[in-house]
């Protein structure tokens, strides 16, 4: 009996799918019905994955823009091969947006993990009001991103409550320009992500901690293990797969960060808080560089796919070992 099964944990993605249970063979009619059932879904996928990718590859190899007056399907008239890719991969503002996004992701997800895990450990033991505290703590996650962008826009005003509160605890009258100072703006974007998504990290990790068999903790207790020894040698190893899943899910989402960043700073001042999504949005809708954006989008998709495949490997290995 593996602990992974006990937590009901199957990592997302077919690469780590549990082996299909042996089933009775399907007859031809059933197979046909099955194909029929998934057909609409496949059609939507063609619309959403296949078409955009094919079209994006096509456009990315041209210099087409919507303001040029010609339709996108005749973009071949402005064929330029890989110039867009070369431009993108050498563009300082794109590369710095990538680096910034990676940094924001690492810092935000890291802090989310620490707070989320600490809280999950505190919430394992029953205490009066635990249920209500859990629901309250999940509130930020339920607030729609457009609103959370707005809330933090309010909070981070120069004479807003955050600076006022900081003035209480720190000496002097703090008047940090959260949204217009280039060194503060990326921090503001990170804070919003931490605030909004720590609850999710907490929720996932809590379900993981709860699934640690109590017997094993009792056994460690009787053997005289301290809290840290239990954490290090029992809880953490058992939770590793769920921790990896939580980190992957959060990192993937943080990497896409747009709504809050856009509403808070529009990537500014200048490009000081521009993330990949914000950068693409600005290039497309402010600078109208469509083919360039298409090239960047392809680069990002390839990068994300590789990263996700790498990240999922530890779980794969673990499940292979258990099979």
């Amino acid at each position: 009996m593996s602990t992974v099964e006990e937590t009901g944990l199957t990592a997302p993605g077919p690469a780590v799918e549990p082996p299909a249970p042996r089933q009775s063979p399907l007859d031809a009619a059933e197979r046909k019905l099955g194909r029929l059932l998934v057909a609409p879904g496949q059609l939507l996928l063609v619309l959403l994955v296949a078409f955009p990718i094919v079209m994006e590859i096509y456009i990315s190899l041209t210099a087409w823009t919507p303001t040029g007056g010609s339709n996108w399907y005749v973009a071949y008239r402005d064929w330029i091969w890989f110039d867009n890719f070369i431009e993108g991969l050498t563009s300082e503002s794109f590369l710095s947006a990538v680096v910034r996004t990676v940094l924001i992701t690492i810092v935000a997800v890291g802090i989310q993990f620490v707070i989320g895990f600490l809280l999950a450990l505190l919430f394992v033991e029953k205490f009066p009001g635990r249920r209500i505290a859990t629901i309250l703590f999940l509130l930020p996650m339920m607030i729609i991103p457009a609103v959370s962008g707005f809330i933090w826009f309010l909070l981070l005003q120069t004479d807003g409550p955050i600076n006022k509160m900081l003035s209480f605890v720190a000496p002097g009258d703090i008047r940090w320009q959260w949204l217009s100072d280039p060194s503060f703006a990326p921090v503001a974007v990170t804070i919003v992500d931490i605030w909004q998504w720590t609850p999710l990290m907490f929720l996932i990790l809590l379900s993981g901690v709860m699934a640690v068999p109590e017997d094993q903790l009792n056994a460690a207790n009787i053997l005289g293990a301290s809290y840290w020894q239990k954490l290090r040698h029992v809880i953490l190893p058992i939770m590793t797969p769920i921790i990896i899943i939580a980190l992957i899910i959060r990192a993937m989402e943080a990497f896409k960060i747009f709504d809050a960043a856009w509403l808070l700073t529009q990537g500014g001042p200048g490009e000081a808080s521009s993330t990949i999504s914000v950068h693409l949005y600005r290039q497309a809708f402010i600078n109208s560089q469509w083919s360039y954006v298409a090239a960047l989008a392809i680069v990002v998709m390839i990068g994300v796919s590789i990263a996700a495949a790498q990240a999922i490997k530890p779980i794969e290995r673990r499940q292979a070992a258990e099979a």
């Binding site: 207790n221 053997l223 005289g224 020894q229 040698h233």
Partner: protein, 367 residues
Amino acid sequence: MAKIELENVWKRFGRVEAVVDLTLDIPDGSFIALLGPSGCGKTTTMNMLSGLLQPTSGEIRFNGEVVNDLHPGKRNVGFVFQNYAIFTHMSAFDNIAFGLRVVRKQPAETVEREVERVAELLDISHLLEQRAADLSVNDMQKVAIGRSMITNPGIFLLDEPFSNLDAAFRAYMRAEMKKLQRELRQTMIYVTHDQVEAMAMADHIAIMDLGKLQQYGTPDEVYNSPANRFVAHFVGSTTMNFLPAELGATDGSLELRLPIPEARPIVLEDGSAKLLDEKGERGHTLGIRPEHLELLDPANERADARGTVLLVEPLGARNIVHLRAGEIDFRVVVPPTIRPRVGDALGIELERKYVHVFDDMTGKALR
């Protein structure tokens, strides 16, 4: 090495009383079985001894020292769980080594030497490198025993450790545990709901029901002199016969009349009549173990009652004969050579020495 005393120990969970006023002395080096049906409070008692639970009131003392609030890890007890509770993510070796390596931070050579010693004792040396989750349940339990043994605890607590194992291995492990306990001279407390297991292994048996201690004595005592009807019923591989009886006295002897037509009254001539004075008019039950009944020819004048055979269960080493006499069913254990046919009429004799009498109101044994 430790002697254990429980004094007026109570454990309440909200309004549920799991353990009620339990007082128990467990001498150093003895092997005690805590016996009872599920929900009788035996596991709660174990958890209080291990420190996983604190008693609501009362005192638990190890070697005279109160340990009520002592952390489980500081009590020097070993605990073997019913479902093993081995660390599934570790190897068998790492499981056994846990107490020494992780907790006591012993040097690697010591750890290795001790793990190998314990593994040899349990005959699992060849399994040490395997992942614990991949072991068979039998081996898992051996690893769990090894893990709790390695710190040389003075007290060994086993909570139904073999109930998930197959019958053959269970018998083998019982013998092994008993041998181990003789060698190590630890105080061992063994929880079980299986009275055969308790009788076979323990020096003393504490029988619990509904959170209360029913009887505490040697296997012989609880078998031959059950303190009450519960103990009499619970102990014994073929359940005791219970017969409604009317008490009377003749010439200083106690007379038990069974509601069976033409049955002889059972007269006990050993001064039991004085019971009658104390107990007055209450209802009583006569109890007698199936092996203390004798089957006779129906014409034999020693027969206390006569009945017909309903069923014969041949068990190999012995047969169990079910008889009906009047409205009353008897179970009689007889040697395999005696094998009456269904419908046969037979006489029954009760061995006077082994007749028990229970007060219907309190369940207490009067004799």
